[in-house]
C-alpha cells in the first residue's frame, strides 16, 4: 500500500496542475493556440471512455506486436547468447556485429522492412525484435559469464558433463540477468511497435495516434498514449512477478 502512495501522489499532483493549466487556458494562450488543441486530463479521460472499443481494438493489435516481437527476440537472443558463451571464437567474431545491430537506425530501416515484409504484422515484429534483441542477448551473455569459476571446477570433480554444468549452474546463474534484459526490452518494445505502425499500418495505437494528430483529435491521441503507457507498465509488472516466481533464491 505504502509503495503506491508516493508515486500516486506525484501523479495526482501532476494531473491536477495539468488540469488547471489546460482548463483555464493559460498554456494555450501562452503558446497562442486554440484551447481544444491542449486537452485537460478530464477531457482525455472522457475520450478514453467514449472511444473505449476503438482503443481496445487497436491496443490489441499493438499488444500482439509487442508480445510476439519480444518472444522472437527472446528465442533468438537467448539462443545466440548461449552460442556465444559456448564458443569463444564465435563470440570474438560476432560481438562487434552484435553491438552494431544496436546502431542500426530503425527510423531508416523501417520503411525497407515494410518493402520486404509487406503491410501486415511482419515488419512490426521485425522492428520490435531487432530492438529487443540486443538487451536480451547482452544481459544473458553477461549472466552466463558471471558464473563463479570455482563452481565450474566443483561441478567437474562431481562428474558433471558440459551440458550438466550448463543447465545446473550456468543457466540458473544467468536467469536474473536474462530477466533484466527482458525488462529493458519490454520498455523499448512498445516504442518500437508504435514506430512500426507509424511508418505503415492500418491499425494499432501508433496508427491511431498518427491519424488523430493529423485530424487534430488531440484528446484521443493522448488517450491512446495513456493506453500505451498502461501496456508498458502492465507488461513490466507481469515480468517482475514472473521473476519473483522463478528466481526464488534471490
Amino acid at each position: 500500500m505504502k509503495a503506491w502512495l508516493l508515486p500516486g501522489l506525484v501523479i495526482a499532483a501532476l494531473l491536477s496542475a495539468w488540469q488547471i493549466a489546460a482548463s483555464t487556458g493559460v498554456v494555450a494562450e501562452a503558446l497562442s493556440l486554440e484551447p481544444f488543441l491542449i486537452p485537460s486530463p478530464a477531457e482525455i479521460a472522457e475520450s478514453l471512455w467514449e472511444n473505449r472499443s476503438l482503443l481496445a481494438e487497436n491496443a490489441w493489435v499493438t499488444l500482439r506486436e509487442v508480445v510476439l516481437g519480444i518472444a522472437c527476440a527472446l528465442v533468438a537472443g537467448l539462443g545466440f547468447a548461449v552460442l556465444l558463451h559456448l564458443s569463444e571464437t564465435l563470440r570474438r567474431a560476432t560481438y562487434p556485429l552484435l553491438v552494431g545491430t544496436q546502431a542500426i537506425p530503425t527510423i531508416i530501416v523501417a520503411p525497407i522492412l515494410i518493402v520486404w515484409f509487406g503491410y501486415g504484422i511482419g515488419p512490426k515484429l521485425a522492428i520490435v525484435a531487432l530492438i529487443c534483441f540486443f538487451p536480451i542477448t547482452v544481459n544473458a551473455l553477461d549472466g552466463l559469464r558471471s558464473v563463479n569459476p570455482d563452481a565450474i571446477k566443483l561441478m567437474r570433480t562431481l562428474d558433471a558433463s558440459r551440458w550438466q554444468i550448463f543447465h545446473r549452474v550456468e543457466a540458473p546463474s544467468a536467469l536474473p540477468y536474462a530477466f533484466s534484459g527482458v525488462k529493458i526490452a519490454v520498455a523499448v518494445a512498445v516504442i518500437a511497435a508504435v514506430f512500426g505502425e507509424w511508418v505503415a499500418a492500418d491499425s494499432g495505437l501508433g496508427w491511431l495516434i498518427r491519424l488523430d494528430t493529423s485530424q487534430l483529435e488531440t484528446a484521443r491521441a493522448f488517450a491512446a498514449s495513456a493506453v500505451l503507457a498502461a501496456i508498458s507498465v502492465a507488461l513490466f509488472g507481469l515480468l517482475a512477478l514472473a521473476e519473483r516466481r522463478v528466481v526464488t533464491w534471490r
Binding site: M155, L158, W249
Partner: protein
C-alpha cells in the same frame, strides 16, 4: 587410495608456482598442506584433482595418472561452500549422483541417509541461504562425500567460519573422517587445524612452492579437540611447524 607426486612443477606463464615437489600419501591417510598465502597450495590441490595439468613431473592418484583419470578419483571441496542457491540442501548434497544420471528420488534417498548420519536431519529441504555458515559447510562436505570418490581434496574448508564454529567443524570433520575413512589432502593456512585433522603435515615454502618440512601429528583427529591441541606434544610440533613456515618465507 594412495597419492604419489614426483618432481612436480607448475607455472602460469612466467610465474612459477610449484617447483620439484615430491609428496607421498599412504592409503586412507590424511595429509595437511600449510604454507604462506599465495604459495600455490590451492594450485597443488587442483593439480592433484586433475583440474590442471602439471608443467613437469608426475602425479598418481592410485593408478590414475592422466588428468581426466585423476578427476574421476578426486572430490574437491572449495574454500567457500559454493552451494547452489537454487537447490535445497539435500539436492546440493546429491549433485554428484544426479550428474551420474541417477533419478532425482533415488539420488535424494541416498543423500538423505548421510544427512541423518552427519547431524543434518531436518535440514534436507532448507535453502542454502537459510543455513548457518557451519551448516552450509557440513552440506558442502557431505556433497563431497556423496560423490563417493576415494580421495578428498579439501581447500581451506573452514576458512570462512568464525573461530568457535571453526573449532566445532574441525571436531565434526574429525569424527566424519573417523566413521568414513578416506584419503584426504587438506589445504589450510592454519597450522593448528592441519595438525589436528591430518596424520602428517607438509610445510610449503613461498612461491614457487616446495616442501620445507614434513611433520607427524601426535594424535590425529582426537575426539577431544581442546585436550589434543593443548597437549605438550602437540604444542611442540606446532612450534616446529611454525619455525619451518617462517624459514620457508623470504
Amino acid at each position: 587410495m594412495s597419492v604419489s607426486i614426483r618432481g612436480l612443477g607448475h607455472s602460469y606463464g612466467e610465474l612459477r608456482t610449484i617447483e620439484r615437489l615430491d609428496l607421498e600419501l599412504e592409503p586412507n591417510g590424511v595429509i595437511g598442506l600449510v604454507g604462506p598465502s599465495g604459495c600455490g597450495k590451492s594450485t597443488l590441490l587442483e593439480l592433484v584433482c586433475g583440474l590442471l595439468e602439471p608443467s613437469s613431473g608426475t602425479i598418481a592418484v592410485g593408478t590414475a595418472e592422466r588428468a581426466d583419470e585423476r578427476l574421476a578419483q578426486c572430490a574437491y571441496m572449495p574454500q567457500r561452500d559454493l552451494l547452489l542457491p537454487w537447490y535445497s540442501a539435500l539436492d546440493n548434497a546429491a549433485l554428484a549422483l544426479r550428474n551420474r544420471g541417477l533419478g532425482r528420488s533415488e539420488a535424494r534417498r541416498r543423500a538423505r541417509e548421510l544427512f541423518e548420519r552427519f547431524g543434518l536431519a531436518g535440514f534436507e529441504r532448507t535453502a542454502p541461504a537459510a543455513l548457518s555458515g557451519g551448516m552450509r559447510q557440513r552440506v558442502a562436505f557431505l556433497r563431497t562425500l556423496v560423490a563417493g570418490k576415494p580421495l578428498l581434496a579439501l581447500d581451506e574448508p573452514f576458512a570462512a567460519l568464525d573461530a568457535i564454529t571453526r573449532a566445532e567443524m574441525q571436531e565434526w570433520l574429525a569424527a566424519a573422517l573417523g566413521s568414513d575413512p578416506r584419503a584426504a589432502i587438506l589445504v589450510s593456512h592454519d597450522v593448528e587445524e592441519a595438525l589436528y585433522l591430518s596424520d602428517r603435515v607438509a610445510v610449503l615454502s613461498d612461491r614457487p612452492a616446495r616442501i620445507v618440512a614434513e611433520l607427524s601429528a601426535p594424535h590425529p583427529r582426537a575426539p577431544d579437540r581442546d585436550a589434543a591441541i593443548t597437549a605438550p606434544a602437540f604444542v611442540a610440533v606446532r612450534e616446529e611447524a611454525m619455525r619451518a613456515l617462517h624459514a620457508g618465507m623470504r
